[in-house]
C-alpha cells in the first residue's frame, strides 16, 4: 500500500508547487513501517518480560531503564560520522538495520537479563543513530521555504506508524494464542521491509566533497561559534528544561480527572491522535508565519497544560482540552525545530548540527524530569506542577527573546 504511494512521485522526480519531495515521502514511509515494528515490541515488552519470562519488578526496571545517556552520545558521533563520510543514508540505514536485527536478538536472548538489556540498548542505539541523518536528508531534499510542512508530513507518517504498532501486536497475540515470539518475528519482518524501502527508494544527497578541513572536529566545534546555531541550541535546550515528560503529565491528568486506571493508556493515544492530525497544518503554518513563532507557540501550549493541571478544573472537558493542547505542543515543536535548524546549518555539517540540537534537548529533558520528580517529593503534586509552570514561563520568555531576534532574517529568506 505504502510502496505504491511512494513510487508515483519517485518516478516523477520533479519538485513543483506544493508537492512534498519524493525523498521525504520515502523517508516518511520508512519511519511509518519502522514505527509499526518498534511500537509492536514496545507495547508487549513488559508483558513478555513479566508474564512470559517471569521477571520480577526490579529486573524489569533494570531492563527498561537502560540509558538515554549512552544513546545521546552515539547520536552525536553518528551525526558527525554521517557528515564526515558524506553518507547520511548509510548511517541512517545502519540505525534502521540495527533495530531490525535487535528484534531477532530478543528471541535469541532467552531469559538472560544481561542479553535482554544488551538487545534493548542496541534497539535504542539504532534509533539514536538514525534520527539526525534522516532529518538531515529531509532538509536536503526540500526547499528551505517548505521545510515546516515537509517535517509535518514526515512526523504525521511517523506517528501513524506508532499508532498502528500496538494494534498489530495485539492482533498477532490474538491470532497466535499469546505467542510472544510470533510478535518478535512479525516485528522483525516489518522492520526488514522498512530497511528495504530505505535502500530502494531513499536517495542520498552526496554533494561534491568539501575541503577536508570543513568537516573535521574543529569545524564541528565551530558550529557553536555560529551565532544563529548557538542561539537556537540555547533556546531549544532551555525549553527542553521546561518539559517534565509524558508520564508525569498523564499521571497528573488522570488524578485531576479522577480517571479509572484502565483508561490510562488511552491518554497517550489521545495525544498521538492530536499530534497526527495537527503536524501538517502546524508545519505549513510555520512556513507561512515564521517557525520561531510556531515553535514558541508550542511551548506556550505546554505552559497552558501546566497551568490547567495546577487548577481544580476537572472532568471530561478539561481532559480533552489538555490532550489537544499537549498534541499541539508536539506538533508545533518536534518537526518545526528541525525545520528551524536546517537552513541555519551549513549543508556539510547539517547532520552534526541537528544531532547536537536533539541531544541538547534530550539531556535537558532528562534533567528536568528528574528535578520534577524531586519537586514532587519535596512539596506535593500541586507545588511541583506550579514550579514547572513557573520554570516554563521563565524559559519561554528567555527563549522568545533569543529566538525571535533571529526571526526577521529568517522571514526575509
Amino acid at each position: 500500500v505504502y510502496l505504491a504511494s511512494v513510487d508515483r512521485p519517485a518516478a516523477g522526480r520533479t519538485r513543483t508547487g506544493g508537492r512534498i519531495a519524493a525523498n521525504v515521502l520515502a523517508l516518511g514511509t520508512v519511519s511509518l513501517v519502522t514505527d509499526v515494528s518498534s511500537e509492536m515490541v514496545s507495547a508487549i515488552l513488559p508483558l513478555y518480560l513479566v508474564v512470559g519470562l517471569r521477571l520480577g519488578p526490579a529486573v524489569y526496571g533494570l531492563v527498561d531503564g537502560v540509558y538515554t545517556g549512552a544513546t545521546a552520545l552515539l547520536r552525536l558521533v553518528g551525526g558527525y560520522v554521517a557528515d564526515r563520510v558524506r553518507r547520511r543514508k548509510l548511517i541512517a540505514g545502519l540505525g534502521y538495520g540495527m533495530s531490525a536485527v535487535a528484534k531477532a536478538g530478543l528471541l535469541a536472548a532467552g531469559t538472560s537479563v544481561p542479553a535482554l538489556a544488551a538487545v534493548i540498548v542496541a534497539d535504542r542505539a539504532g534509533k539514536g543513530l538514525r534520527t539526525a541523518p534522516r532529518d538531515a536528508l529531509i532538509t536536503l531534499s526540500t526547499p528551505p521555504g517548505r521545510l515546516g510542512r515537509a517535517f509535518g508530513v514526515h512526523r504525521a507518517m511517523d506517528s501513524a506508524g506508532a499508532f498502528a504498532g500496538p494494534l498489530v501486536a495485539v492482533a498477532v497475540l490474538a491470532a497466535s494464542g499469546q505467542a510472544f515470539d510470533a510478535v518478535f518475528v512479525v516485528s522483525g519482518c516489518v522492520a526488514a521491509i522498512g530497511v528495504l524501502v530505505l535502500i530502494l527508494f531513499v536517495r542520498d544527497h552526496r554533494s561534491p566533497a568539501p575541503a577536508a578541513a570543513r568537516v573535521g572536529p574543529r569545524a564541528a566545534a565551530g558550529l557553536l561559534r555560529h551565532g544563529g546555531v548557538r542561539m537556537l541550541l540555547l533556546g531549544a535546550t532551555l525549553l527542553g528544561l521546561a518539559t517534565i515528560g509524558d508520564g508525569f503529565v498523564y499521571l497528573l491528568l488522570s488524578r485531576r480527572a479522577d480517571l479509572a486506571t484502565g483508561w490510562f493508556p488511552l491518554l497517550a493515544v489521545g495525544t498521538s491522535l492530536a499530534y497526527l492530525v495537527l503536524a501538517v497544518p502546524l508545519g505549513a503554518l510555520a512556513d507561512r508565519i515564521g517557525r520561531p513563532k510556531v515553535f514558541l507557540g508550542g511551548y506556550a501550549a505546554l505552559l497552558t497544560v501546566y497551568l490547567l493541571l495546577g487548577t481544580a478544573w476537572g472532568g471530561l472537558p478539561a481532559l480533552v482540552t489538555v490532550l489537544i493542547l499537549y498534541g499541539v505542543f508536539y506538533a508545533a515543536t518536534d518537526g518545526v525545530l528541525m525545520a528551524l535548524a536546517g537552513p541555519l546549518l551549513p549543508a556539510e555539517l547539517r547532520t552534526t548540527g541537528l544531532a547536537l540540537i536533539q541531544t541538547g534537548q534530550a539531556l535537558a529533558y532528562l534533567v528536568s524530569s528528574v528535578l520534577f520528580g524531586l519537586a514532587w517529593q519535596w512539596w506535593n503534586v500541586t507545588g511541583a506542577i506550579r514550579a514547572a509552570a513557573v520554570a516554563a514561563a521563565l524559559t519561554l520568555t528567555v527563549s522568545a527573546v533569543v529566538l525571535l531576534r533571529r526571526a526577521p532574517a529568517e522571514d526575509a529568506r
Binding site: 508474564v51 519470562l53 526490579a58 527498561d64 531503564g65 499469546q178 505467542a179 490510562f264 493508556p265
Partner: protein, 325 residues
C-alpha cells in the same frame, strides 16, 4: 535500476517477508496445549498438599496439586499465576484473546466464584490464611514517570465484605519513623499475616524496603532495607525473601530468611539467583520456582535455616502454594 524494477523488487521481497510473518503466526497458533478439557477434579481445600501451575508440555499453564506421595493431579483450569489458602484460590489469567488480564476467584474445587478485570500485567498473587482477602501485583505500562522506570500496583479484595484497595500508593507511608511522600512509590509482593495485616516490598528513590501494612488503618511503615518479595512463615516469626546481591538487583538475588524478632538474616543454601516470591511448606522449608529456558520451570525446596541442599520438589511446575490443613 528503473523505478519500475525497484517497485517490483520491493513488492516481491515485502510479499515474501509478510508470508514468513503470517506463516510463523499460524504455526505458533497451533503449538498450545489444546482446548481446556474438563480435567479431573482437583481438591485445593486445606490439607497436606501443594498447589502449583504446570509448565509440562502436555498441560502447560494448567493448575494442579501434588500430595505427600507426590501424586500429581492436573485440572483443566489455566492460570498465569496461582495461589491458594483457606479454601480460596486466586488465579490471574488472560481475559479473552487480547492482551488484557483478569483476576478469577476460585473455590476449593477450582470452580469460578467471581472474576474481575485487571489493569496491567499480573506478577504476584497471594491469599490471606483465612481465604478471605486476596492481594495481587500488576505492572502498569504507560505509567512510567521517569526515564522508563517501571511502575507496579498492588490491589486487594476482601471477598467477604467486598471492600477493595485500588493501590497501596494511596496508603500513608512512614519511612524510618517519619511520614514519607514521593511520586516514585512502587509496591509489590504482598504476604498476609491475617485479614488486616500484611508485609510487602516498597521501592522508592532506588531502594527497596520491607514494609508492614495495616489495611483498616491504611498505613504502611518500613521495617528493613533490601528485602524483596517477602513471604511470611506459618508461625509468623520469619520472612523468606530475595535479597539483591550487594544491594544491586543487576547481580541477582540470594534467597534468604529474616527473623522478625532479631532482624537477623540467614542466606539459604540455594546459591542460584531466585527471582520469585517464595512460599513456606511448614515452618522449616521454603519453596520457590526456578526457570529452565523461556517456558519451563521447576519447584525447588530448601531448608529455611540455611543448612542442607536444594532439591526439586515438583518438576515442570511453578507458582507453588502449600495448602495447610
Amino acid at each position: 535500476m528503473t523505478p519500475r524494477h525497484r517497485a517490483l523488487l520491493a513488492g516481491a521481497v515485502s510479499a515474501l517477508l509478510i508470508a514468513v510473518a503470517v506463516g510463523y503466526v499460524v504455526v505458533a497458533g497451533h503449538r498450545g496445549p489444546g482446548p481446556a478439557a474438563a480435567g479431573p477434579v482437583v481438591d485445593a481445600g486445606p490439607g497436606d498438599r501443594i498447589l502449583f501451575r504446570s509448565t509440562a508440555p502436555g498441560s502447560y499453564g494448567r493448575v494442579g496439586v501434588v500430595d505427600r506421595s507426590s501424586a500429581r493431579t492436573v485440572s483443566g483450569v489455566d492460570c498465569d499465576r496461582v495461589y491458594g489458602a483457606g479454601g480460596t484460590v486466586i488465579c490471574l489469567r488472560p481475559d479473552g484473546p487480547l492482551a488484557t488480564y483478569q483476576l478469577a476467584v476460585l473455590d476449593a474445587r477450582l470452580a469460578v466464584r467471581d472474576t474481575y478485570p485487571l489493569v496491567g500485567v499480573p506478577n504476584r498473587a497471594r491469599v490471606s490464611p483465612s481465604g478471605h482477602v486476596l492481594a495481587w501485583t500488576v505492572f502498569v505500562t504507560g505509567d512510567s514517570y521517569n526515564g522508563g522506570r517501571f511502575s507496579t500496583r498492588v490491589g486487594m479484595l476482601d471477598t467477604v465484605t467486598g471492600q477493595t484497595v485500588d493501590t497501596l500508593e494511596d496508603f500513608t507511608v512512614t519511612r524510618d519513623g517519619r511520614r514519607y511522600r514521593a511520586a516514585d512509590l512502587n509496591f509489590w509482593g504482598v504476604t498476609f499475616a491475617d485479614d488486616d495485616h500484611f508485609y510487602a516490598t516498597m521501592s522508592t528513590a532506588g531502594r527497596r524496603y520491607l514494609v508492614a501494612g495495616d489495611v483498616a488503618a491504611r498505613t504502611v511503615r518500613t521495617l528493613a532495607d533490601n528485602v524483596e518479595c517477602p513471604s511470611l512463615s506459618p508461625d509468623h516469626r520469619r520472612i523468606a525473601f530475595k535479597a539483591a546481591i550487594g544491594g544491586d538487583p543487576a547481580r541477582g538475588w540470594r534467597l534468604s530468611v529474616l527473623d522478625l524478632a532479631t532482624m537477623t538474616r540467614i542466606p539459604l543454601a540455594e546459591t542460584r539467583s531466585v527471582d520469585d516470591q517464595a512460599a513456606w511448606s511448614g515452618d522449616g522449608t521454603v519453596l520457590y520456582a526456578l526457570r529452565r529456558g523461556t517456558r519451563a520451570a521447576d519447584v525447588w525446596s530448601v531448608p529455611a535455616d540455611g543448612t542442607g541442599t536444594p532439591a526439586i520438589l515438583i518438576p515442570d511446575a511453578e507458582s507453588p502454594a502449600a495448602l495447610r490443613g
